[in-house]
C-alpha cells in the first residue's frame, strides 16, 4: 500500500463552552468542579412545566466568535429541538440550532509547512450541553451540573487533509476563541471538545469516501494521532478492496488506536422541531457592530505586530499569542525594555516552563523580568546567571541590581583575570587540548565548561571563547608518547 495513492478529507466539529456566569436557559452557575447536582434547577433538570429563558450573554459571545472567524452573523435566527432519548439529556431534546444558525460562512487562516491555508467554517450555532454520566461498578450516576451550560458548535468545511493540519487548526481556533474571551478553552476540563470526521479516497477521485466520526477528543495531540491512525486504517481497507463502514468511533489514548462505538445504518433522525418555547433571536446591526468593536486584536494579527515592533522571532511571537495573558505579560515586559528578544527568550525557555497555568500567570513581575533582560543585554550578567536569578525570582521577589552586586554575580570581563583562568584550565585538561589540536574542534566546549565552572558561571562566554581560541593556538602541549 502506498499512502501517496490516497488522500484524506477531514472536517472538525468543535464544541466550546461559552464563558458565561450562568447557564444558557436558567440562572444556575456554570462554575466547574462543584459537587454533583448542586448547580441545577427545574429548568436545567427538565422538570414538568419548566421553560427555558435564553441567556443573552451566550448569544453575544457566540456572535463574537463568529465575528472573530469572519462569519456572517445572522440578524435573525431561531432555536430548534434536537430530539433523542438519553439519560444525560433531561428534556429528551437538546435545544440547538438547525436551519438558521447564528453564524455562517467564515474562515480561519492557519500556518502549515506548505504555507498559509484558509480553512472554511460553515457554521457556528449555539446549544445547551447535556449532563454527565458517571459509570461506576454496576451502576451509572448522573450529574446535571453540566446540563444547560452554553456551548457553541463550530463546524469546519472539510478543508483539512492531515492530522497535523487538523491539530494546527484546532490550536489556532482555540487561540482565537480564548483571546476573545468566548471560552476559557480548557480542554482537560472539557470546555473545548472536538469531534472529527475523516474520510479517505484515492487521489484523483471526486467522490468522497465513507466517513468515520471520532467523538469527543480532548487534546491537540490526540486529535492528530487519532486522525493519522484513522487515515491509515481507511487506506488499508481501501487498498484491500474493502469498504469503509459508516461508524462512530472513539480514540483510545492508551493504545493510540480508534475503537468502534457504534455502526451507523444511516444518519440519525433527530426529528428537528422549531423550539416553540423561545421567540426568535434578533441581533440588530448596531449590536453586531458593537460586538465587532469589542473584539480584541486577534492572535495572528498580534503576532505579526509583535514581530514588527519588538523584532522577536515569528515562532516565538506565535507561541506568545496563543495565550492572551501570556502575550499581555510579554508586552508589559517588552514595553520598558531595550532587549525584548532576550526577554522573550527568558519568558519562553525558562519562565513558561515553571508556570503551566492556563491562562498564564507569572510569579515574576513584568518589571523584574524587564530588568533581568536588561542586565543580560548589557552584559552585567551572563545567561547562566540570568537563568539562576530567574529561578530565584520565581521563588520570591528581590532587588536584582543589589543582589548582583552584593553576591558578586556580575560577569567577569576583566581580560587579565579571565586569561589566568583559561591558562589554568588548559593545564588542567591536557587531553581536551590535544584533541582540539588534532582537529576535534568540539573539544573546546569542555574547556569552556570548565572555565565556567571555575568562575561559578560568571565568565563572559564570548570573551572566554575568544581567549580560548587565541591561547590554544599559542599553547604547546607536552607530547606524551
Amino acid at each position: 500500500m502506498k499512502m501517496n495513492d490516497f488522500e484524506a478529507v477531514i472536517g472538525l466539529e468543535v464544541h466550546a463552552e461559552l464563558k458565561t456566569a450562568s447557564k444558557i436557559f436558567c440562572s444556575c452557575s456554570t462554575a466547574f468542579g462543584a459537587s454533583p447536582n448542586t448547580q441545577c434547577c427545574p429548568i436545567c433538570m427538565g422538570l414538568p412545566g419548566a421553560l427555558p429563558c435564553l441567556n443573552r450573554r451566550a448569544v453575544e459571545l457566540a456572535a463574537m466568535a463568529g465575528l472573530a472567524l469572519d462569519c456572517t452573523v445572522s440578524p435573525l435566527c431561531r432555536t430548534d429541538r434536537k430530539q433523542y432519548f438519553y439519560p444525560d439529556l433531561p428534556k429528551a431534546y437538546q435545544i440547538s440550532q438547525a436551519e438558521l444558525p447564528l453564524c455562517r460562512n467564515g474562515f480561519l487562516t492557519i500556518k502549515t509547512l506548505a504555507g498559509e491555508r484558509r480553512i472554511g467554517i460553515s457554521r457556528i450555532h449555539i446549544e445547551e450541553d447535556a449532563g454527565k454520566l458517571i459509570h461506576s461498578e454496576g451502576s451509572t450516576l448522573i450529574d446535571y451540573n453540566r446540563s444547560g451550560i452554553p456551548l457553541i458548535e463550530i463546524v469546519s468545511e472539510p478543508d483539512l487533509h492531515t492530522g497535523r493540519e487538523a491539530a494546527d487548526y484546532l490550536r489556532a481556533l482555540r487561540a482565537v476563541l480564548v483571546s476573545c474571551g468566548v471560552t476559557d478553552g480548557k480542554m482537560q476540563e472539557g470546555s473545548l471538545r472536538c469531534d472529527v470526521n475523516v474520510s479517505v479516497r484515492r487521489v484523483g477521485e471526486k467522490k468522497l469516501g465513507v466517513r468515520t466520526e471520532i467523538k469527543n477528543i480532548n487534546s491537540f495531540v490526540f486529535v492528530e494521532k487519532a486522525i493519522e491512525y484513522e487515515i491509515q486504517r481507511h487506506a488499508a481497507l481501501l487498498a484491500d478492496g474493502k469498504e469503509v463502514p459508516f461508524e462512530t468511533r472513539r480514540y483510545d489514548e492508551a493504545s493510540g488506536k480508534t475503537v468502534l462505538m457504534r455502526v451507523k445504518e444511516r444518519a440519525e433522525d433527530y426529528r428537528f422541531m422549531k423550539e416553540p418555547d423561545l421567540p426568535p433571536i434578533y441581533l440588530r446591526e448596531e449590536e453586531i457592530e458593537a460586538l465587532r468593536a469589542m473584539l480584541p486584536e486577534l492572535p495572528d494579527a498580534r503576532a505579526e505586530r509583535l514581530v514588527r515592533e519588538y523584532a522577536i522571532a515569528e515562532d516565538d511571537a506565535r507561541i506568545l499569542c496563543s495565550d492572551r495573558a501570556l502575550a499581555d505579560y510579554f508586552e508589559a515586559v517588552a514595553d520598558n525594555c531595550r532587549y525584548p528578544r532576550l526577554a522573550a527568550n527568558l519568558l519562553l525557555t525558562d519562565l513558561l516552563r515553571r508556570c503551566q497555568t492556563d491562562p498564564f500567570h507569572s510569579p515574576v513581575s513584568a518589571q523584574r523580568l524587564s530588568s533581568l533582560a536588561a542586565l543580560l543585554g548589557e552584559g552585567t550578567v551572563n545567561s547562566t546567571t540570568a537563568k539562576k536569578l530567574l529561578q530565584r525570582l520565581c521563588e520570591g521577589d528581590f532587588d536584582l541590581s543589589a543582589t548582583v552586586e552584593c553576591e558578586s554575580l556580575g560577569q567577569i570581563r576583566d581580560e587579565a583575570i579571565l586569561k589566568k583562568t583559561v591558562l589554568e584550565t588548559l593545564e588542567e585538561l591536557p587531553r581536551a587540548v590535544s584533541d582540539y589540536k588534532n582537529g576535534k574542534t568540539a573539544a573546546i566546549k569542555s574547556l569552556q565548561g570548565r572555565v565556567m565552572a571555575r568562575t561559578q558561571g560568571r565568565a563572559d562566554p564570548v570573551m572566554t571563547e575568544r581567549l580560548l581560541k587565541t591561547l590554544l593556538a599559542e599553547y604547546e602541549v607536552e607530547q606524551h608518547v
Binding site: P42, M45, G46, L47, P48, G49, A50, L51, P52, C53, L54, R81, Q83, F85, P87, P90, K91, A92, Y93, I142, D269, R271, M273, P276, D277, L278, P279
Partner: protein, 476 residues
Amino acid sequence: MSEMIKRSLAEHRRALDGGEYTSVELTRAYLDEIDRREGVVGAYLTLNAEAALKSATEADARISKGVARGALDGIPYALKDNFCTKGLRTTCASKMLEHFIPPYDASVVTRLNDAGAILLGKLNMDEFAMGSATETSALGVTRNPIDPDRVPGGSSGGSAAAVAAYEAAFSLGSDTGGSVRQPAAFCGVLGMKPTYGAISRYGMIAMASSLDCVGLVTHTADDCGAVLSCLMGVDERDTTTVAHPDPSFKSMKKDAPLRIAVVRELLEDEAVSLEVRNSTEEAIGLLRECGFEIGEVSLPSPDAALAAYCVISAAEAASNLARYDGIRFGHCAATEKELLSLYAKGRSEGFGSEVKRRILFGTYMMTEDKRVLYYDRALEARARIRERMLQILKQYDMILTPTTPTSAFRTGGSLTPMQRRRADLCAIYASLSGLPALSVPFGHDKDGLPLAIQLIGAHFCEGLLLQTAKLFEEVR
C-alpha cells in the same frame, strides 16, 4: 348549601372587606360544598384544605388591618392538576406523575398567592390534557354537575365542574384547542382562553407549547376580568409572554356599532346539532337587536384546520412528553436492567392509551420523510388560517361561533377518536391563531343542558369579549 358561595368575586370582596363574613368562613363554606357534592361530581384529585384554611386566616388578618392585597385576597379557587404547586402533588391525571411533588410553583400560582387567593385543591383533567371529556384521566371520574350522566367536557373538566358546582369561586385550566372553552360550555360557566402570550405558561405542564394557554373558568364576565387582570403580564420565566396593551380593559367601548362576523361553514358543519345552530342564530338575533352589525365570512376548510391542529398538537406533545423517562421523576420501571427497556416499560405503564396514541402519531409525523408531508404542511395551513383570521378581524370586531357542536355528551366514551376531534372544530381557529376567545353560556337544549356561544377577538381584545359577554348576562 350556604348562599355565600354563589356570590360573584366583587360581592365576595365587599362582604370580606365589610366584615359580613371572613375568608375562613368562606373557605369553609366551599370546603363544605366540596364535601357535600364531590361524591357525585368528583372534580378534585387533591384537596389542600388545611393549607387553605391557614392561608385564609392570614388573609383575614390582612383584611381586618385594612391591608388587603386587592380583588382576590381571601377568595378560594382551584387549579387544574397540570399547574405545578410547590409541595403539593401535581399529577396531570396520569399514573406517570401520580406521586410527583413539584419543587416550585407555576408563575400563575405565585401571582395568585401574592394576590392572597386561597388554593382549595387540584382538579381532575384528561391525562396530560389530551381528551375532551375528562374520561382519559387515570386518577378519577368527574361528572357534569348539571347532569351526572353527562361528561363535564375536557380536558379541563374538573375546572369547569368545580366552578359550576360552586366548589370554588373560580378556577384555572389550560386551553390548547378548546380545553377550557368546551368544558365551560358543557357545564354552563364562562371559559376564557386569552391571547397567546398574555399569561405566563411557566409551571403549567406543557402539552403543545405553541398552542397552550392558561385558561380561566368563572361565573361572570366581571369575575373573569378580575382574575385575568391578576394573571396577565410579562413573566421573565416565559419569554413568549408579552405586555398587554390594555390590562384594565378600559379602552374597548366604541361609539360606532360593533361588527360581528358569523362563520357560515362552522354553523352548517354536519357535526353541529340543530339545537346548537338554532341557539346560535338566536344569539345573533339578540346582538342585532342590541345594535351590532352582523356579517358573514368564510374560513379555510374545517378539515384543513382540524388536520393542522391534530398534527401540530401531537408533534409538540410527543416532544414535550419525551422527558417522562422515569430517570429523574415520575413512574419508573426500576427493575429493568437495560436502558431501552427501562424507557419502554416505564412509559408503557405510566401513560394511558390516548396519550400513547398522540405520542406515536406525533412522533411519526416528525420522522424524516413524513415531516415534509405532514408537519411542514400543517405549519403552512396554520399560517394561512391565522392570516385569514387576522384579515377578518380587521373588518370585524369579533367572530361569533358556537363553542361546541353539541351539548355535553353522555359518559362512557361513546365517541370514536375522530368524532371527538371533530368536536374541537369551533375552538381550534382561535388556538391556531393565538387569538383570545371566550365561551359564554347561552340557552339550553331540550334536556336542559347548557349551550354556549364563542366570541373570538383580535389579539389583546379580551376586554371587548368580556363587555359583550356582559350583554348576554343582562338578558339572561
